[in-house]
Symmetry: D3
Subunit: 246 residues, 6 copies
């Protein structure tokens, strides 16, 4: 089984970390490829970044389809481009926010999200509602750490995140912590030891979820909303995204 | 006051129609410019199209900011790129699904949406939930008319849409109809006469809403989530979307 | 276009202020009349006051219909009598809580209401739910200022309100403030400058909304729930409210 | 124990029927008085009627307070004036929609309401949401019987109502029927025998609920929202509703 | 009328207290029997305890059916076994959480629950959602008092509970308190005097509710979900729970 | 890795089928044991059956803990005893309704459940709400097939189920089907081929989910609600369920 884990930003050090996390939980016989798009933002910290990460992500998925990839993980906590990706991929596509929130709901009555910049909390809450987690999610806390600081050895990022995890348990009474950025994937065990509750990293969670779906023989329902997009003319800079009639 | 009404698809005949509708309701002293992006899909009928319409839309908004546009209408019923647009525009930005649904809720207890392809209903329902309209929206009905058929004189589009409007009133007991595509903007009065309930076109509704906000001196809260995006490096095909440090 | 802005309480100094606010945002060609009912409470600070403000309000609307008024604003934050008013008015009728909350939702992910007495918060929350704002409204804060204190020059009202606005931003993390009383209409700009987020006054917001609907040719759906009331016998003190058979 | 059952309309034959139903379920030692207001509409079939029924209802409650009434039933399915009544009554006040819906939820997973005119369904749904019954209420069906036809011997009312009750069970799969008008109170047993599921009349249900609360020593929380209304000046036709300072 | 109040735990001193509370509110002509099961846990402080209290409870109800009991109260705040009990009882069955929450909603806009161990709050919130009380319930506070400490004279239980009741009013702004354990039934009046808002004990509330339903001639809808269980073979330790074919 | 799949009813032929389904999706290195309790009902078709299946289930889990089982699947669509099981198991415990519904939400916007007897739909809807699936689940359809008929070769069960699956797609417009009984686990592929949308069997889905959690090193949060139950005295028939002090 071949699973593509796509980092929708263009920072390849982060892709490396994401790939290692995915591989650490993949089953025997599963190959993980971790990919960095060739276009788009160095990190995703705004709706603007998120929107402009999608073309690069879709390019990777289109290429994956030609290579026979079995399933995809979209490794950014805003789950950018998920619906579009599901239309063009034969196999399942899972976003890490979706995976992490759904996994957290298997582990306790309530969870809290600990994320990077405060400005991304609106999107996190929107996903909470989309994934049916409104009754379970008690807080979305920001550490105010820029995404790429997570790549710097010796930064204060880890401490700031640990601090918010502790507050989520102590002040918001959550049973489980969800990490709100793919760049935090390597902190999962350490934070769990520190705060004494399960800590869920979406990259790992999504990897096992995609594997599970492939093993179940299940994929996106391509019956209506997620059928392949109707072919049509595309213009200008984006003309290569045009889908030719079958 | 200068309002840009942006058609996120690249079909300029549709832009012409949209502009006429917006102008027909604009107040004295308001200039409407109707714009077609230079890149992207000819129509928006899938999540894939919608995602790839956003870069072209954002380019138009960035250009509008340099020209001093006071407010924007995003004239596609999926409200593509709305959050990203709000980050980069100083003035208000309103999507036509948002405008139409919120207007419908001022006119009756319930409404129904009549749209083009059935595959777009999922996105419409997602927006219903986002805009707090879940208790008011009783149905999203598809006429199964492709978007660009609305541009063809003598097509069966009008009849198919009228049929679904009548069914929404008779079978789903709705007080108000919302038209689910910018390409239907010119059908509004005629359908209202036919079905005997208010019929809301989002292009016109959004135009008066943006005008109202500008007159009130109100715009998007740029305090946190919708603050201007943090500058950062963009790569590849999309490198020109990079926002330089201020 | 003639718009009646009706102050449902019987304090004419407040009506004067409300009229000035409405006129300051009305478009060219729109006439605003600000009206005080001839019966009812001097201010609305309880469910009892609110219920007993409705007959006076309905009398003004019935009179407006005879004069050819195009649309109405109900200028009390409890939106008293809104449904009844919609049955007897040909044109649109908008309450200021509805207008303010729906406007706030166009400007940010979240808002907070700052109101007068704490006892009115229950009604505000009820309206939050009715208008589909439950996911957006994070707080309803009371300044504990009686309504008519807002009419006294030199009162502490302004400071108390400013204080709660600041707390709503700092403690409840709201993007937008909604003012919870028509008597605060003149404080809007000043408070916005002070707290650094958009502050919405419902009187002004409702005025532009009614204007917009009239320009769109839209009014309440009179198909079923909001059809004119069936004529019938009324007795006693209220016999003049009887609607004669057509 | 003295319980006032107030018919908010001014049709005394309906009051007679309501009183008989209340007395048939009252416990030993409970006196029921059934009251008709001296002002207001002959029946309540619109938001307009409902709003104008409230002053007469409040007059009866104010008089009841002077007589030492222990608790009140508001016997109209729109629950008019309930919040205002709770402010001025020392004892509990229960509306028949509230009582019927809450009782139905004790008896099964789901219920359906069968009411008079279709135009009143909007209000019924609003109350469904207010009373936390949105997951339980599957339908609100109208028989299109005017309220006062329920007073006419030999009318087709009974058959039309029975028909809708049967449809609610067969087509909407409800476990319980709620009768949507005080004028249907005497049909309860007969309909239950006919359709084979519990049929709840709000007049009887509210009577036992008020009795229960009085026996429990419980009444409305007068701590904040439902504290007695602040005294203030009332003008014009409604000046006698003024509450003098204590 | 004969009402069985069943304490689902096996501590008979608690049953005694529960019976006294029920009798203190029962009407003339109502006999209360308070029962302790012969099997199961001494107190219910976990999901495990709750699940294992159900067989004993069902045994008591089956026996009650043979004796002609008219209705049942399940006197544990987790409402264990309520759905199963409703299938096998001809008369109504009410849980004390359901009774207390529904009663609280008659008395104010909001309530708070004060319970025993913090670990039981998850179940309380689940019941809040089931009973349509999500908009009304503002807090579930734990006193961290083990259930059986409520049976010890001179324990610190009373003070700890009073403390949480005061905090619910002062910090969470609730109109009404709901006591979250049958073992607190005797504290109701005293706490109400202390905190100045209505305090609802579910044992008493459920008793009047069952009485009311019996007087109304209403019981569980046995049409589908709550029809008597289909007979079938039971094995092992639980073979005596087998229901023989009729 | 050792996973126990527990059939909460006592029909071992069904356990055999469940075990085969679980094994068919388990990864290399995972051992599946399929277990039948020694006490309880032959099938689960009522709340009564469900409640009385829990002691047998808990006995199996307690035994599994002594054997070092890594995770558990509860293979009945009512998810009986799930919360209690989570308190006593060190590893994760997943119910098949939870697994199937959460899996379906990964595959499309909407799903429908096809189940056995109509009387079980109430429980299914309750779980839909608990698992945050209210916006996604469009229908719960009953085939009116008794559970054990699924064990009979040549029964009409398969056709009746297929019929409801087709209706769910055609009439309720669902993207995905969820099978509402563990006894349908072997019909999954065949039904999917027939109806042309993904069909999810909870037994297989839960197996991959438990495997995934174990691989992720995640289990139930034992911090508060799901901490091991406090030890206490148990009486009578159930005395062996007593948990001794540690």
């Amino acid at each position: 089984m071949l699973i593509s884990v796509i980092n929708p930003n263009t920072t390849s050090s982060m892709t490396g970390k994401i790939g290692r996390c995915a591989r650490s939980v993949a089953g025997a016989g599963t190959t993980i490829e971790a990919l960095t798009p060739t276009m788009g933002p160095a990190s995703i910290e705004s709706h603007y970044d998120e929107a402009l990460a999608v073309p690069g992500l879709l390019t990777e998925i289109a290429a994956g389809e030609r290579r026979g990839v079995d399933g995809y993980v979209v490794a950014c906590f805003g789950d950018p481009g998920l619906d579009a990706a599901r239309e063009i991929a034969r196999g399942p596509v899972i976003g890490i926010a979706e995976a992490a929130m759904r996994t957290a709901m298997l582990l306790g009555r309530s969870f809290g999200v600990v994320t990077t910049l405060g400005r991304t909390r609106g999107r996190a809450w929107e996903l909470v509602h989309r994934y049916g987690a409104a009754a379970a999610c008690r807080t979305v806390r920001a550490s105010e750490i820029p995404v790429l600081d997570l790549e710097l050895p010796g930064s204060a990022a880890r401490d700031a995140i640990a601090q918010e995890c502790k507050r989520a348990v102590a002040e918001d009474d959550v049973d489980v912590i969800v990490l709100g950025c793919a760049g935090m994937a390597d902190l999962c065990r350490e934070l769990s030891d520190l705060v004494g509750v399960p800590v869920v990293d979406g990259v790992a969670a999504a990897t096992t979820m995609v594997e599970g779906l492939v093993r179940l023989g299940l994929t996106t329902s391509h019956r209506s909303e997620y059928a392949p997009p109707p072919p049509k003319r595309y213009r200008g800079l984006l003309r290569d995204f045009q889908i030719a009639p079958a």
